[in-house]
């Protein structure tokens, strides 16, 4: 029943040579497309926040270029047959379905040569949905189902939510599961890679370091991690809550191949992904700004985790901001 509302992804006979955004015959203006996607992410999330009097807004500011670079340049995903409309909650695995979650349909068909993309901090779901719309993978109307009872477009993304394939809402578990997937894919000889978007707050969790240790030990180099290093978490500045810096040195000490880049610079974000895997886990530390292109948000410092519109004046100021972004 649920599946009937999801347009089935066409099984595309894609080969590594047909990589989207990586092939020889592609347009060299991917940056223009990525800039459009990043702008669209911020605009859609702000529009949504205005309609709902609140939401995960600063995550759109910090991660827009990361997601735009992933969807337009880095990820080798199979196509979907037009933008998909999310179906209703189908039920839990083992009851409603077994195996591949309905949420992963938004990333196209699964083949040995296509990449997989896993969002680890599930509170970024709103930003991911906006990215899926801008990337032409989700119907814009899908966002109207956000946080509605019975919908898969959940506030904290779950396995059945658009663009998701597993449960990572309990922070620290996304990378471990992705590492298991990547190890298994390498063992099977898949050429497709696994990409994970993480938040810097997840590096406070012991499980993340357990995973990095295991990835280095078992040479899981077909997994690439992009970290939105926005220095912000629920309680405030990470420097005040629990410092994780110097993150690059810590990661290197754990055997990772680390690149610290400007998280709003498209070329800088894309460059590490083009490097040939060398046995080490790849980590791109994307240094970002929680208020990027929304300066008025800075008044909320140091609390950026969840944005709430406080009064009518606030509403009008952000409405003007949205108007200026169109």
């Amino acid at each position: 029943m649920a599946r009937s509302r999801i347009k089935q992804a066409v099984i595309h006979d894609g080969q590594p040579g047909a990589k989207r955004g990586r092939g020889a015959n592609r347009s060299d203006a991917w940056q223009d497309e990525a800039r459009r996607v990043a702008r669209g992410i911020r605009r859609r999330v702000l529009d949504h926040v205005l309609r709902n009097k609140g939401g995960y807004l600063s995550q759109a500011c910090s991660a827009a270029e990361i997601l735009a670079t992933l969807y337009t340049k880095v990820l080798n995903l199979g196509p979907v047959e037009g933008p998909l409309l999310p179906g209703p909650f189908p039920g839990v695995p083992g009851v409603a379905y077994q195996g591949v979650s309905p949420g992963s349909a938004f990333h196209g068909p699964r083949t040995p040569y296509y990449d997989r993309f896993i969002l680890s901090p599930s509170q970024y779901a709103l930003v991911l949905y906006a990215a899926l719309i801008e990337a032409g993978r989700m119907d814009p109307d899908g966002l109207m189902q956000f946080n509605r009872d019975g919908s898969t477009v959940e506030m904290i993304g779950a396995a059945h939510s658009p663009g998701h394939e597993l449960m990572s809402g309990s922070l620290g578990q996304g990378l471990s599961q992705a590492a298991g997937i990547a190890y298994a894919r390498k063992r099977k000889g898949d050429s497709g890679r696994v990409w994970v978007l993480m938040s810097d707050g997840e590096f406070q969790s012991g499980q993340t370091w357990e995973t990095l240790q295991a990835m280095a030990f078992h040479k899981v180099d077909n997994l690439g991690i992009y970290v939105d290093v926005n220095g912000s978490q629920c309680d405030g500045r990470m420097l005040d809550v629990m410092n994780v810096e110097p993150l690059d040195q810590r990661l290197k000490a754990f055997g990772s191949r680390v690149y610290r880049v400007d998280g709003h610079d498209l070329d800088a974000l894309a460059a590490p992904a083009a490097r040939k895997p060398d046995g080490r886990p790849l980590v791109v530390l994307a240094m970002t700004d929680t208020c990027r292109e929304m300066e008025i948000l800075r008044a909320n410092a140091p609390k950026f985790h969840y944005f709430r519109l406080k009064n009518d004046a606030d509403f009008r100021r952000y409405q003007e901001l949205l108007a200026s972004m169109r």
């Binding site: 083992g94 599961q177 298991g180 997937i181 499980q207 240790q213």
Partner: protein, 340 residues
């Protein structure tokens, strides 16, 4: 009684021979959980994960998503106490075929409270999608892998290691969700008392029932190796057809495990019989030998005699000497692992 050594170690190597999709994961307890022979036989299918159980369980979920069958091995406590959230979200929710083998359950570990899994059945039983199995003897250890592998979702196995007795005929394999009849003095009628036991308590119960029957007590002794899914109909049937009541016996706290499960069945079926739950009574345990702890905490054959006497309001005057021979593990046998 036949005593066998390192049954799982050898059985796993034989069983997994032609199963390339079976991967064994270890958390630095390779010899202690009898997967050293597997490691040596199939090094390419052995994943050393270190003392890092949270990653091990979530990682196993990832492997299972890609068609592999991760066989996670460590001490029972370290599986569920250290990685419960990971089991719940990375394994149980997606209903993935991760197989967890928890060793040294309850008082079988002399390692003290940090090493003794006394509430694992309770915690695993309440997780949706989870199948929960407990081995009691060599026959069950030899046949549990086929049972486990037939389950499409996650399975937790409370496992025994080292020297184990053969309580059940080797030709009678473990069957999922089925109770084993050890003794039934009135297959078609009422008995004085029905006994449900699991794990190492079944061996103890067998020692006691012999003595009780010699004193004229009619008994129905059922052994349970599948905690979940529970054979509800068989439990209800056996519990209803008793004159004096029901006794459960488990190497576990009496809350949440076998005793609770039987109580739930009896209450829901409206079976108005007495229920005596033998097990740990809201207490942690300490480091000592299995025989010592079973006596101290009342989990042994003598405890079952006492509780039966109380239920029947009788004194049989059965002494320790009247009980079937106690099986004592040689302190310095090969089975007694140097490292816990």
């Amino acid at each position: 009684m036949e005593i066998l050594s390192r049954v799982h170690a050898m059985n796993l190597v034989r069983w997994a021979k032609d199963k390339p999709e079976v991967l064994v994961l270890s958390a630095d307890l390779t010899s202690s959980t009898e997967i050293d022979l597997f490691r040596d036989a199939y090094p390419d299918r052995f994943l050393s994960m270190g003392v890092a159980e949270q990653n091990m369980l979530s990682f196993a979920g990832g492997l299972a998503r890609e068609g592999f069958f991760p066989f996670v091995h460590t001490f029972a406590v370290f599986i569920y106490r250290r990685a419960y959230d990971q089991i719940a979200m990375s394994v149980a929710y997606p209903n993935l075929p991760v197989r967890m083998f928890g060793f040294l359950p309850g008082v079988t570990s002399p390692g003290g409270a940090s090493h003794q899994a006394i509430e694992d059945i309770a915690l695993m039983r309440v997780l949706p999608n989870m199948t929960v199995i407990e081995c009691a003897d060599a026959t069950e250890i030899e046949t549990v892998l086929d049972v486990v592998q037939a389950v499409p979702g996650p399975v937790y196995v409370r496992m025994l290691r080292g020297e184990v007795p053969r309580l059940f005929d080797a030709s009678e394999p473990m069957r999922l969700g089925k109770l084993r009849t050890v003794v039934d003095d009135q297959p078609s009628g009422k008995v004085d008392v029905a006994i449900f036991s699991s794990g190492i308590c079944t061996e103890e119960a067998m020692r006691a029932t012999e003595a009780l029957r010699a004193h004229g007590v009619s008994i129905r002794h059922l052994h349970l190796s599948t905690h979940k899914p529970l054979d509800v109909a068989a439990v209800a049937r056996a519990a209803a057809r008793t004159r004096h009541g029901v006794i459960t016996m488990e190497n576990h706290v009496i809350t949440g495990g076998l005793g609770s499960a039987v109580a739930e069945v009896m209450a829901e079926a409206g079976i108005g019989k007495r229920l005596v739950r033998i097990g740990l009574r809201d207490t942690f345990v300490h480091g000592a030998s299995r025989a010592y702890l079973m006596k101290e905490y009342g989990l042994d054959a003598a405890a079952l005699i006492r509780h039966t006497e109380k239920l029947l309001d009788t004194q049989f005057g059965i002494s320790e000497a009247d009980l079937a021979q106690v099986r004592l593990e040689a302190v310095h046998s090969d089975a007694k692992a140097e490292a816990l």
